[in-house]
Amino acid sequence: MGNDDHALIRNVLAGEKNAYGLLVARHSQSVFRVAFRITENEADAEEIVQEAFLRGYLKLEDFDARSNFRTWIYRIAMNCALDVLNRRKNQATLSIAEEYDSEKTTVQPADGAAGPDRLLLSQEIEARRQVAMEKLTPTERLAFVMRHMEDRSTEEIAGALGIAPNSAKQAVFRAVQKLRQSLAPLWVKS
């Protein structure tokens, strides 16, 4: 696959623009997956996919032939995701946090509860998780998604975010701490 990608890249650089379409078709699903996990918004994820492949095309001359295209476009997608998260942070049109303030929420599912209670708890956890995720900084959020959901190593996270490995580790740590603070009351009550 990697070699095929390199052949397609050579064709694109030789003037065959449509060869890039094959690269997009090959990797768009995986880029969308990570973009959606980060943003948790379908429209934002689609925007990231398009922006990532657009930037990738424009920077294709800088692509190192020894690299893996998948990893390379993944990094570009991370940067696009960071931009989207920062923009979203700045706009701050709607604070989900206010809707799910931890002090106001009182859910007490019984131990060994039947299906509906479990479902309720899951929905509550999911809602709180979304709130907690919104409270993370863009870097913390990306680092946590890559670590927890994409199963990427600290070095890979650091490389994608352009930060030191220790900073990447600290970002994951801070993200987990914040999530604990937001979600812990649920576990105490349960």
Binding site: L13, G15, K17, V49, F53, H148, F173, A184
Partner: protein, 252 residues
């Protein structure tokens, strides 16, 4: 017992801790840390990836359709940067042409000069002989001049002049034998004449008196020999110049 920090527990959960085995042992031994680790694990296990909206199989094609309009083929990009590269390529080509011409010239010179020199070893030998012979005649001329001066001033000839004559005598024998093989009777006769004068000067017992010098001058006609040698030196100088001209012409 040192308890695990929250950071160490998180690292352990993601299997990124350096001391995994030690952390595992501690968690088995320490209830406090085990409980805290269980809480962290419970929390992290509860955080799952959001449900992924399904993408159609032609998702890639749709993405491509949405971006391809704003992309320009790389060939046209190359045209834009063509002139920049053209200048660089032109400068490089000029340098290569210059370097090539220089190398070709050197090779041509090397290829043509060597055979011409190698094919005329006789000419090379003659040039050496002319040079050495000219040097010998020059030294002989100076000796004869001193001898004639001594004769004119009626002075005796000192020992260093005799030593010089002895040295010249040895050399002269070699040159005379060499010239005898060549077809140059004038030079052969002059060297023969010179040898007899040198022999007389070199082999005199003690210092040559003014009377001895006068006798040698008279009997051996050293004035005539000096004139002869000067003519020969002029001739040899001309031959040397001609030989150098021929060599330069061959090298070109």
């Amino acid at each position: 017992m040192k308890h695990l920090t929250e950071e160490e527990m998180i690292e352990h959960y993601y299997s990124e801790d350096f001391y995994k085995a030690e952390a595992e042992l501690h968690l088995q031994a320490c209830k406090h840390c085990a409980q805290a680790y269980e809480e962290i694990g419970k929390l992290l296990r509860s955080i799952r990836s959001p449900e992924m909206p399904a993408r159609s199989s032609d998702h890639g094609a749709q993405v491509w359709q949405s971006i391809q309009g704003s992309l320009q083929p790389y060939a046209s990009k190359r045209k834009r940067s063509y002139f920049r590269w053209f200048h660089l390529a032109y400068a490089t080509a000029c340098l290569l042409v210059l370097a090539g011409a220089f190398v070709a010239g050197r090779m041509w010179e090397h290829a043509h000069a060597k055979p011409s020199l190698a094919s005329n070893p006789q000419q090379a030998k003659e040039r050496v002989v002319l040079f050495v012979l000219d040097n010998h005649l020059d030294r002989s001329e100076r000796l004869l001049v001193q001898l004639n001066h001594a004769g004119a001033e009626r002075e005796s000839v000192d020992f260093p002049l005799q030593a010089e004559a002895q040295q010249l005598l040895t050399d002269n024998r070699l040159y005379r034998q060499s010239v005898a093989q060549a077809n140059d009777p004038l030079l052969a006769a002059a060297l023969d004449h010179l040898e007899r004068v040198l022999l007389e000067v070199a082999n005199s017992p003690g210092e040559l008196s003014a009377a001895d010098v006068a006798r040698i001058e008279q009997e051996m006609n050293t004035q005539g020999l000096l004139f002869q040698i000067r003519i020969l030196r002029t001739k040899i100088s001309e031959q040397t110049v001609n030989a150098q001209a021929v060599r330069k012409g061959a090298a070109l």
